[in-house]
Amino acid sequence: MSETAVPVTTKKDWSSDQEVRWCPGCGDYSILTALQMLMPELGVRRENTVFVSGIGCAARFPYYMNTYGMHGIHGRAPAIATGLAVSRPDLDVWVITGDGDALSIGGNHLIHALRRNVNLTIILFNNQIYGLTKGQYSPTSEVGKVTKSTPFGSVDQPFNPISLALGAEATFVARTHDMDRKHMMETFRRAHDHKGGAFVEVYQNCNVFNDGAFEQITSREARPQMLIPLEHGKPIRFGPDGGRGVVLDGQGRAKIVDVAEVGEDRILVHDEKRDEPGLAFMLSRLAKGPFEPTPVGVFRAVDRPTYGEAMQHQLVDAQQRLGPGDLTKLLHSGATWEV
C-alpha cells in the first residue's frame, strides 16, 4: 500500500471500459451510477478495492468497475470474498449479489459470512425474480407469483432479507431502493464505513420480468406515504408532516399509528446501536411486502470484532509466543532418533 495521499478521482476513473449490458431501463443502472459516483467520495484507492460477485444479472457488476474484480460462481461470492478479506485485511471487499444468488443457492454462505462478521460490504439487488434465467420466481417472490416455473402461482413463503440478515446477527443491516440515488449513496457509504459484515438490501426494479414490483412504495408520489425513514436517535415517523409513526404495542410488537392519536412521546425512537437485534427484527416485520409502509435506512449498526481481525490476532499472538516459524524445528518436533 502506498503512503501517498489518495488521488482525487471522478466517476469516470471508477468506470471500466466495458459496455454495460443490462436491459435498457433496468434498475441496476442506477445502482451502478450511485456506486461509481460514491467511490471518489470514500477516500479509497482503486487498486485496493475489489468487487466480488456470483451469478445473475447483478453479478455482472464487477466487470463495470475499474477496480479489481471477480465474477464468481452462483451463490458463492460471500465464500470467495471471505477468503479474500481474511487473507488480505488491507483490501476493501464488496460483494454484489441478487435475491436468487444470495438467498437461494448461496443462502448458507450469506448467513455464515454475516455471523462471522467478515469485513465485507454486501449489496443485495432484490428484484424478487430470476432475471438472467428469464423469469422464474425467486426466494423473495410473493406467494402466488405466476411465473414460467409457477404457472399456477408459487406456493412457497418468501424470505424477508432484512429479517434473515438480522437473524444471522449481522452487525450492519440496511435497506434502500433504486429510485433514490441520494439515499442509495448515503446507505452504501454507511455500509462501506462499517467495520465488519455490512448487508444492504436494494429494492431494484426488473422492468422485463417483474416490472413495478416496488412501485407502490418507491415511486416519487408514493414515497412520503409508504417509506418509513429510519434515522438513529430520532422518532420513527413518516407521511406528510410526519403524521404517522411507529410504536410498540402492549404485546411488544411494532405497529403503525397516527402520531396525533397516541401522542409524540409514545413514538419509538430508532436505536441502530442496540446490541440486541430483536427490535430491529420487529421493524423488519412492519411491512408484509412492498405494498405496505416499509422502513428504509439503517436497521442495525453495532460494533463487534471482525473475523479477519480475530484471525490476524491469533497469528500475531502465535508469533509472539512461539517466535516466527522455523521449518527445521517443526520437522524435528516429534520424537526423533539418530542413525
Partner: protein
C-alpha cells in the same frame, strides 16, 4: 523392572502384531505407542490403523472392533504386513473379526476376562471359542488382563470400573516385554500425556508395569523376542503419518514460496487431521478456516489465491464432488490452488474410515466442460511431505488448481522418515505481476490478465493492491489476452486448447518416471499412490523366486511423465494394481494403446504383498 535374562531371548528379523479390541478400548493409542517406541528403538516400521466410522459403536459388538497392525523389522520394509504373526484380542468380538487373518501357527493373546456369556453372545459365539477347538492350530495365551489390571491399580484406590480402562496399557506392557521394547520412553510418555489427571496417569503406569512384569514372571511365555534395529541411511529420523507429513509439506511449501498459506476445509474423515495439524502452526503465518461447507472452503481458497496467498483445501469422499464447481472456476480464472483428496471407500458416504483409490478418474475428469488440471498422488506416508511441495510448486508456477491424491491408508499409517535438510528443499519462485504488460493502440501501457508467458503458458498473477493492474476475471469465457468476456466461437476454441496445452506442457517440467528394472524382465508393474509399498514388497518376493520383474510408480498422473510411453513399450506385459476397478489402467490403455492388465481390489484394505506376487506370477505365464 526385572530384566529378561532368565528367559530365552530369540531373535526375529521381523514381526507383525495386531492389537484388536473394542473402539473404546484404546487400541489406536496402544498401537501408536508401540509404533513410536519401536521407531525410536530403530526398527523399520509400517502401520495399518483400521477403525470403525462410529465413534463408539455398541461395546462388545463386531461393528465396534478397532484394530491397529504394526510391522517391525530389522531390515527395510514397505508394508504393514500381509498377515499378523501375533493377534492381541481384547474381547470375543475382536477375536471373531480378526482371527481369519491370523495364519495357522500364529500367536493369539486374549483377554480371557472378557470371554463371558454376554460378550460371547454379542460377538455371535454360541460356545466359548477358548473352550472348543475353534482355535486349534494357534498358540493361545489366555491372560486375565482386566482382573490383573484392577488388582495392580487397587493400591492407588482406583475404582474397578475406572481401573479397567487401563487394560490396554496392560496389553501394551505385556507385548512390550515379549518383544523386548525399551520401557522408559513409554513410561515417560504416559506421564506427559496424562499429566493433567494424576489418578489416570498412575493407573496407566501401574497397568503397563503389571503387563510387562506378567510376561516376565508368569512363565506362560517360553521366551521373549528381539527384533534388532534396522540399518537405515545415517540421519535424524522421526515417525510420521501421511496426514502430518502432508500438513508439514504445506507449511514448507509456503516457506519455500515465501507466501502465506491459507487453508479452508470442512471437517471430513480421514482428511480432518491436516486441518488440525495446520491450525497449530499459526506462527508460520498459516491461516486456517473451518468453513461452513465443502463448497465454501473451496470458494474461500479461490478468494485467498486471488489475494496472492497459497490457497489449499483438504477433503475426502463426497467433499471432492462438492468442490468440483469451484475447481472449475479456478481452472477458468487460472488461479493457483491445491485440493488434497484423502480418498476413502465410496460411492456416497461409503466407508469413511477405510482406504480406496477410486477417485482417480474423478480427479482427472470430474468437472463439466474441458477442464484439465494437474493431478498428483503421494506414494508413502513420508512422501506426502514432498508431494505437497510439488503440488504447490506446479499450482503456483502454472496458475492452476492441482489435485493431490492421498488416501485413508496413507493418511493414518506411519513410517520412519529421514528428516531432510531444509536447505536442500528447492525454493519456489513466485513472480507476481507488478507492471502493465501490453501497449494499447494509443501507446498507453495496459495490463492484460490473460497475456500468457510463452514458455509456461501461465497468465500473469496480479494481486489486488498493485496499482495500475486493476482487472476483472470471471467464470465466463474470456478473450485471449485482454481477458474480457467473449462469446466468439473461434476464441473459445483457442482458449480451450490453450488451457489444455498449458497443463499438458507441465510434462516437460516434472521428473521422468523411474523404473526399477532387471535385465530380462518382461513384466512391468505400474502403480500409483499408496500401493507403492505393497507393490515393492510383491516385486521383491517375485525376485526372491528368481523371476525377473520391473516396477515403476507414478507420482504425476496428469500430465504423465514424458518418458512413460517409452517405458510402457519396453515391456511385453504391463500389470497395473489398483484399489479400484481399474481406473489408471483405463487411462493408460486409452492414452497409450497398451494392453495393460489390471489387478483390482476394493475391500477397503491395502493390497497384500502376496496378492501382488501372485498376480505378477500369473502375468508371467
Amino acid at each position: 523392572m526385572t530384566d529378561t535374562t532368565q528367559h530365552a531371548l530369540r531373535e526375529l528379523d521381523r514381526v507383525v502384531i495386531r492389537f484388536a479390541g473394542d473402539s473404546g478400548d484404546g487400541m489406536q493409542l496402544t498401537g501408536d505407542r508401540f509404533t513410536n517406541v519401536s521407531a525410536l528403538f530403530g526398527n523399520d516400521i509400517a502401520t495399518l490403523p483400521d477403525f470403525p466410522a462410529e465413534i463408539r459403536a455398541p461395546a462388545g459388538t463386531l461393528a465396534g472392533v478397532s484394530a491397529f497392525q504394526i510391522h517391525i523389522s530389522d531390515h527395510e520394509i514397505s508394508t504393514p504386513g500381509d498377515a499378523p504373526n501375533v493377534l492381541v484380542a481384547m474381547n470375543p468380538a475382536a477375536l471373531k473379526a480378526n482371527i481369519r487373518d491370523l495364519p495357522v501357527g500364529g500367536t493369539l493373546i486374549v483377554n480371557v476376562d472378557s470371554f463371558e456369556d454376554r460378550n460371547l453372545a454379542k460377538a455371535g459365539y454360541a460356545e466359548n471359542p477358548l473352550h472348543d477347538d475353534t482355535l486349534k492350530g494357534y498358540t493361545v495365551y489366555e491372560v486375565p488382563m482386566t482382573s490383573l489390571t484392577i488388582q495392580a491399580t487397587s493400591e492407588i484406590g482406583a475404582k474397578p470400573r475406572d481401573a479397567e480402562r487401563s487394560k490396554n496399557f496392560f496389553a501394551l506392557g505385556l507385548v512390550s516385554w515379549i518383544y523386548t521394547r525399551p520401557v522408559e520412553p513409554t513410561l515417560e510418555w504416559i506421564k506427559q500425556r496424562f499429566a493433567k489427571n494424576e489418578q489416570v496417569m498412575n493407573a496407566n503406569l501401574l497397568a503397563f508395569k503389571a503387563g510387562y512384569n506378567f510376561g516376565e514372571t508368569a512363565e506362560l511365555f517360553e521366551s521373549a523376542y528381539e527384533v534388532k534395529p534396522s540399518t537405515h541411511l545415517p540421519g535424524t529420523y522421526t515417525n510420521i503419518t501421511g496426514n502430518t507429513a502432508m500438513a508439514w509439506g504445506l507449511v514448507a511449501a509456503g516457506q519455500l514460496a515465501k507466501l502465506p498459506v491459507f487453508l479452508a476445509s470442512y471437517p471430513i474423515t480421514p482428511a480432518s487431521d491436516i486441518l488440525h495439524e495446520l491450525s497449530k502452526h499459526k506462527n508460520f503465518g498459516v491461516r486456517t478456516m473451518q468453513a461452513e461447507d465443502e463448497i465454501a472452503a473451496a470458494g474461500a481458497v479461490v478468494g485467498s489465491a486471488f489475494g496472492g496467498h497459497l490457497g489449499v483445501t483438504t477433503t475426502s469422499g463426497p467433499g471432492v464432488d462438492l468442490k468440483a464447481e469451484t475447481v472449475g472456476l479456478a481452472i477458468s480464472l487460472e488461479l493457483p490452488l491445491v485440493l488434497i483428496d484423502i480418498q476413502r471407500g465410496g460411492p456416497s458416504t461409503g466407508l469413511p474410515t477405510k482406504t480406496e483409490q477410486s477417485d482417480l478418474l474423478l480427479a482427472l475428469f470430474g468437472r463439466h466442460g474441458e477442464s484439465p488440471l494437474p493431478v498428483l498422488a503421494a506414494s508413502t506416508p513420508a512422501h506426502c511431505f514432498y508431494a505437497a511441495i510439488e503440488a504447490a510448486r506446479i499450482a503456483l508456477k502454472y496458475r492452476t488448481p492441482v489435485i493431490l491424491l492421498s488416501d485413508g491408508y496413507l493418511a493414518n499409517s506411519s513410517e520412519p522418515w529421514r528428516i531432510p535438510d531444509v536447505e536442500s528443499l528447492p525454493a519456489i519462485d513466485v513472480p507476481f505481476a507488478t507492471e502493465p504488460n501490453h501497449d494499447g493502440p494509443d501507446g498507453t501501457r495496459l495490463f492484460w490478465p490473460y497475456l500468457r508467458d510463452e514458455a509456461t503458458l501461465a497468465r500473469p498473477w496480479a494481486v489486488p493492491g498493485t496499482p495500475g493492474l486493476e482487472h476483472r476475471i470471471g467464470g465466463l469465457e474470456k478473450e485471449d489476452g485482454t481477458g474480457n468476456v467473449s462469446y466468439d466461437p473461434a476464441n473459445h476454441e483457442k482458449m480451450v486448447r490453450l488451457r489444455a496445452a498449458k497443463v499438458a506442457g507441465i510434462a516437460t517440467d516434472i521428473s521422468p518416471v523411474e523404473v526399477d528394472h532387471e535385465d530380462g524382465a518382461e513384466v512391468l508393474v505400474l502403480g500409483w499412490g499408496s500401493t507403492y509399498g505393497a507393490i515393492a514388497a510383491g516385486v521383491q518376493r517375485t525376485r526372491a523366486r528368481g523371476r525377473k520383474v520391473a516396477q515403476a510408480h507414478l507420482v504425476h498422473l496428469n500430465p504423465f511423465p514424458p518418458n512413460l510411453v517409452e517405458v510402457l513399450r519396453r515391456y511385453r506385459k504391463v500389470l497395473i494394481p489398483e484399489l479400484n476397478l481399474g481406473q489408471l489402467s483405463k487411462v493408460v490403455r486409452a492414452d497409450f494403446l497398451v494392453d495393460a492388465r489390471s489387478l483390482t481390489k476394493v475391500q477397503a484394505q491395502p493390497f497384500k504383498a502376496a496378492e501382488i506376487e501372485q498376480a505378477i506370477l500369473e502375468c508371467m505365464q
